[in-house]
Amino acid sequence: MYNSVIFRNITFSYTGECVLDIDTLTIEEHRVTAITGPNGSGKTTLLKILSGLLLPDHGEIIFKGTILLNGKRRKILMENSTFVHQTPYIFSGSVKRNLTMGIKSEHTCKELLEIFDLEKYRNSRASGLSGGEKQKIALARAAGMERDILILDEPLAHIDSESKLIIENVLKEMAAKGKTLIIATHDHTFASRIADKIIHMDNGKIVRSVQ
């Protein structure tokens, strides 16, 4: 098993207050890692550092065996991962426009609309759809990017059970295809169903890691 991302002594502060302090964390390639923990435990900050959206104050990030230097950290992590927010941003315009923001191939776009059961909304105004449909749009958009690492912040929050089932099945399929998935969730049963490894966080620290 190849180690996709390793964190060493990573810290991050918001307005002087340390919100993330990780001694060591290993995200393995082609596996599903779930991150659980209460609100404010540092899950989202950790995901944003993993995706390159935030830069840590201190520490070392090793990606596929190479230490990422400060200047290239963001670029390399961003080029290899995609992040889906808990409340995803939905662009104005149709569902198709939202998908084609990240996906260039018309064929992939059509395929994703079918997989995520969005075909019937293809030309509908995306911002007018329900929370569950919006989450599916964001996931489809991210899935279509075909990056190695998919990072999801609470993908099942505020959505109906039917959409949950679709999303969970798609995530399982992606895991089976060898994608590296990193998922923050409050839902422990979902985490145990889908993840190969569960990391529990509290107060910005990793308090437990279960394989």
């Binding site: 961003m78 409340t87 941003y89």
Partner: protein, 226 residues
């Protein structure tokens, strides 16, 4: 009053040459100034909303203060630079359409820049992150940021246009209100009213209202269709 109103309508309906010339001159100046002010204000609005740097607050306070600057003061300032013995006097800009457009750009720039900054700052904070994570960078990123805030951005342009089309001070001081050359709707209204020629003033007043309403309606229809 009724006969004045009827005569004013007659001037519009019969397509009086001078009325049409004055209206088209006003529109030409206002559109040119709004476009040029937007070209200058858009990068500043984007810079202020997307980055943090020393002096940013100072620039915002300065822009907000300039929004309320009286038109005659802008006219006076530009006049002091382009009049005969001033630093740019040799360019021969005074009492030309160019001088009016320079003054109107200065008038609209802080309004458009400040409102674009507000529009882009009030965006969903996850938008730039989503663009980053989708690999959208450079010019395309900025275009999408503007398109996602298009209603507010167009409102900023309309505010700038509204301020320009209705101003008198800049056009009067820098254009000189020269007939068949720099005479605009507002300067004509001021002049003809002082002469007691209410028909022409009222006809131009009606045209000014129609122009403002039409541009507002067209832009809002455009926003809906984008």
């Amino acid at each position: 009053m009724n006969s004045v109103f009827v005569k004013a309508l007659e001037l519009i309906v019969t397509g009086d040459k001078e009325v049409l010339f004055i209206a088209s001159t006003s529109l030409r100046f206002a559109v040119s100034s709004t476009v040029l002010a937007t070209v200058l204000a858009l990068p500043l609005g984007l810079l202020l909303s997307l980055s943090s740097f020393r002096g940013k607050k100072l620039i915002i306070v300065f822009l907000n203060s300039l929004m309320a600057l009286p038109t005659v003061v802008i006219g006076l300032l530009v006049y002091s630079f382009i009049s005969k013995n001033a630093p740019f006097g040799n360019l021969g800009l005074l009492f030309t359409p160019g001088a009016i457009i320079i003054g109107q750009i200065i008038l609209a720039f802080p309004i458009i820049a400040s409102l674009i900054y507000s529009a882009l700052s009030n965006r969903d904070p996850s938008l730039p992150e989503t663009l980053d994570t989708l690999g959208i960078r450079g010019i395309r990123k900025y275009v999408i940021l503007i398109l996602e805030a298009k209603t507010a951005v167009l409102s900023a342009l309309l505010s700038g246009f509204g301020r320009i089309i209705g101003e008198v001070g800049v056009s009067m001081m820098l254009g000189g209100n020269i007939r068949w050359y720099t005479r605009t709707i507002t300067t004509t209204i001021a002049l003809e009213t002082s002469k007691g020629n209410f028909e022409l003033a009222l006809a131009l007043g009606i045209i000014l209202i129609v122009i403002s309403l039409t541009i507002n309606v067209l832009l809002h229809m455009g926003i809906r269709d984008v």
